[in-house]
Symmetry: C2
Subunit: 203 residues, 2 copies
């Protein structure tokens, strides 16, 4: 195959795109990586990247083995009732991670974040752009005001994320018995107000 | 030196105790390890272990490179005003971990928790016994009531820990800019009510 050749669609194509994406994200970070560049590296048409993965965020989630499309889940959360954003986020988070597979993937994700600087950089850029960025924009829009300074909003989104990541560390890594034993309802009731307080403090 | 010999006090003794403690904690976990057993392995008198480290919890903190005595700090927090437990915990936590050295040690601690099961077991038992256990006991005593079931109290202590661990992950590992830039005062004001809500929900 020549360097400018194009692979046909098929089983190998999806794997080739994933491999190219992994390399590009690792070398350039999330922000600087483009679908076009990944397609070039994988020697496929950019349309195939969209066909198989639906875009850069979902492709990144696939590379990191995140068992869901974070942007879609976050979108569902912020489009629900504003006074239930907190509980809704907790339930959404648990629905994504709370399985044997999710637990293993969270462990792998945290392990790579702790041990590889480039993974940390990717994760930080992804969280900022696709997860917090979305929550921040949607909540600011639904509040219809610019009262809260951007720094405050970003800090609040980051603290909400810190609570959920901490929950996952205690439930999936440290496995503290009381936190492992807690039901989704219990966690939603107890953590909901925390997230609500960070993300929608005026409601 | 015979197996029953006793090392004299000195530079080597402290190192020998640390080495023996590291091995015992790793093999047996936190709960099953005793100062007497560590002394036997290090071939020193148990009194020397107390002399150099002040007991099992402090020795464990030294093994894990925790840059402070957690039990003493937790004690100081819960002996202050009950309605300021939340803010006080945040400030105490930051005072321990928020330095170049503390950050490196947190990274090492999380790395070992994520990569070695035995470290996770040690950490879980230590957190349960020396950190949460203390908060739970002290707050229950100061409330003068048994209203909250033990499971609830342990869950609340675990969730408080999850918020602080999550903060450390975001501030020291992921390094989300808004969370890194936040001052101690900002974090105390924003996270204080969260911890207060978990630990002293009736105040």
């Amino acid at each position: 195959m020549s360097p400018r050749g194009r692979r046909p669609g098929g089983v190998d194509t999806r794997a080739a795109i994933l491999t190219a994406a992994r390399a590009d994200f690792a070398e350039q970070g999330y922000d600087a990586t483009s679908v076009r560049g990944i397609a070039r590296r994988a020697e496929v048409d950019p349309a195939l990247v969209h066909h198989y993965f639906g875009g850069k965020a979902k492709l990144f989630a696939a590379v990191l083995d995140i068992p869901a499309d974070p942007a879609a889940l976050i979108g569902a959360v912020v489009q629900g009732p504003r006074d239930q954003v907190g509980e809704s986020l907790v339930r959404t988070f648990l629905s994504v991670w709370d399985s044997d597979e999710g637990r293993q993937r969270f462990q792998a994700l945290l392990r790579s974040a702790v041990t590889h600087d480039e993974a940390t950089l990717m994760l930080r850029e992804f969280l900022t752009r696709e997860v917090f960025g979305r929550v921040v924009r949607e909540l600011a829009a639904s509040a219809g005001s610019g009262r809260v300074p951007t720094h405050q909003v970003e800090l609040r989104a980051g603290l909400a994320a810190s609570q959920m990541i901490g929950l996952a560390v205690m439930r999936y890594i440290v496995e503290l018995p009381a936190v492992v034993a807690a039901s989704h309802d219990e966690l939603a009731v107890m953590l909901g107000p925390t997230l609500q307080g960070y993300l929608a403090p005026d409601d």
